[in-house]
Symmetry: C2
């Protein structure tokens, strides 16, 4: 029997505290997964991720199939052997990236033909090919291949993409062979509650050990997303993990945990760090701002991360303006620590049945600090 | 009394094993100083430098006076307070960089007027200004302001620069006030032994607690440099540290320690790392090379650095080709570890009076491995 399980161990309102077991270790939920697009979280070493409490990483199927190639990764021991990250991995389906990055796409029922954004070579991603790639990559959790329409697509386009996502989910399921890898289905349907519900019910009929909610955080209003989550909460099974793909800000994570979500990934903490934006307990801090030029305080005096324990805003600002790579590393460490620490606090507040109170206080502090600490 | 001293504790041939004491800690010599141009070693955090055994960092006066400004650094506690590196620092004089980086230079007896390569603003570097800047930066060791002519300059140009370097050394000495900072003189004279000897004797007459040898590693043949070092060895005092500026390759360091040098700095380990070149016990390794595409071995199987303990050549090659910052970090860590570890081995071989044997074996292994390991 494959060493997988998911158990909801605590509830507070709709928020859930759970435990996901994988062949590469246990993951407490709700969890934030740092994004290691090409098999590495940008500007951060695995060791630092481990020390900060990261438990599971996301890697991108689209990027890795193009470079260095999934077969090469397989020959070098899969993502775990190749990258040296010995904790759990999750790979996305490649669907979202092929629609956002690749050139000359041609979509039909078979799949998506496209040209690599790296070297122009021609490729096909289909449910069968995505399963082949993801099985080569060997993550602990793989995703069914889905069609992710743009956030502003008209309803009939979303409806057609949603039906296709169901057909592709069935083909993904049929093509998936590895017993040491869980395959999650992806619910599509945009902000249309009936399409979302139909999508979820069709995936449930196929049957997956976990369900992702895709196609959000693509430009839709936050209220639309909240409604989708609230609508799906009673439709999705209580005993299976729910993963909200590509979301989001600290506020988004808090509000989505409140609506029953267990898993998240997002590039925001690392991308914003490289652009000089820090998430702090008092709101966001743009390190370029001249007010920090001689500021001897750490980015967040309330934070215990390796960056806040050792450097000042003035020094970080200097490194950032001098284009020193260390700036990206120090700020990525801080932002990831902030996200991971916030998830720890959320899990604890759920266990203690104080999530609502914690949420109110946290959101208020973030709102008060919109101009920075 | 300022807490400075230098003692030669072991000798083997001309090689010396010493101990440099500074207000921020002790440094065993011969020592390699990683270069932290803008107050940070590129792509490497202080913590990792400490763990790898780096004891003293070099920072560049020219860069820091332009950005963030030496007065700002002073207000934030000098280099130690500003950067958080609590071990010793050495700052160069700014002379070399102003000649290699700045635009629209005008040199006269007063100093060098130039425009910043960052924003075009006008600046003056003179002995007095260099002392002011270096005292603001507050490194443990400062350098006298020197004129560094190009490696291919005719003899009369070198001779004039050498005389001016002596006059500037005297002015540097007169302008230098901090008692918690040592000021070293810089011997110039190109590859002309008589000019080198005159320069050294003039500096000795002024009197410094340490002597640097500048103006090498600027394109001169290696034999020329070796002759200069051999010629200066009996001229420079036995009981003062000797610092060969900006040198060099692993072979250069071994050959210069054999000629009595105690201190080194060089950007090679970090710059080459960013360009994908690794120094190994078996010679150099260009990570881009297709032969490493599926190579599961660490960069140097004989190396105990954090990189070699955790990642393969195949993974490093992938990260490098994908322009991931982690590649620069992992390879910089390895190259710096290689340099620092080689210095450790040299110091031990000197203490054990086995330096000649160690040197022969090491240089042979490096020569055998010129095509990479």
């Amino acid at each position: 029997m494959a060493p997988f399980s998911f158990d909801v161990l605590a509830r507070d309102g709709r928020a859930r505290g759970g435990l996901l077991r994988t062949p590469h270790g246990e993951v407490e939920t709700p969890v934030f997964m740092p994004v290691g697009t090409a098999g590495a979280v940008k500007a951060v070493l695995h060791r630092d991720l481990r020390e900060m409490g990261a438990r599971i990483l996301l890697a991108n199927t689209y990027h890795l199939m193009l470079r260095p190639g999934d077969e090469l990764v397989a020959r070098l021991g899969g993502l775990h052997g190749f990258t040296g990250w010995d904790g759990p991995f999750l790979t996305d389906s490649g669907g979202y990236q092929v629609f956002s990055l690749a050139a000359l796409r041609r979509l039909d029922e078979e799949g998506v033909r496209f040209q690599s954004h790296i070297d122009g070579t021609a490729h096909l991603l289909s449910p069968e090919r995505s399963m082949q790639v993801q099985q080569n990559l060997g993550a602990d959790v793989a995703m069914a291949f889905d069609e992710c329409p743009p956030g502003d697509a008209p309803r009939d386009v979303v409806a057609e993409a949603t039906s296709r996502t169901t057909r592709w989910a069935r083909r993904s399921r049929d093509a998936h062979r590895r017993e040491d890898q869980w395959l999650f289905g992806i619910v599509q349907g945009g902000i249309h509650l009936d399409l979302r519900e139909a999508s979820a019910r069709e995936l449930l009929a196929i049957g997956f050990p976990g369900y992702a909610i895709g196609g959000l955080s693509v430009g839709e209003p936050k209220e639309g997303r909240d409604r989708v989550l609230e609508h799906l909460d009673p439709v999705l099974p209580e005993d299976k993990p729910r993963y909200l793909m590509g979301v989001g800000t600290p506020e988004d994570l808090v509000d989505s945990v409140a609506r029953g979500v267990d898993m998240f990934d997002c590039v925001l903490p690392t991308r914003n760090a490289r652009n000089g934006q820090l998430f702090t307990s008092q709101g966001r801090l743009a390190i370029r701002n001249a007010r920090y030029k001689e500021d001897p305080r750490p980015p967040d005096p309330a934070c215990g991360c390796p960056t806040c324990r050792t450097v000042s805003r003035a020094y970080l600002r200097h490194l950032h303006l001098a284009n020193e790579m260390g700036a990206a590393t120090l700020m990525s460490l801080h932002n990831l620590f902030y996200y991971l620490d916030m998830m720890r606090a959320m899990r604890q507040s759920i266990r203690l049945c104080r999530f609502a109170e914690w949420r109110r206080d946290t959101l208020r502090r973030l709102a008060d600090g919109q101009d920075g600490p």
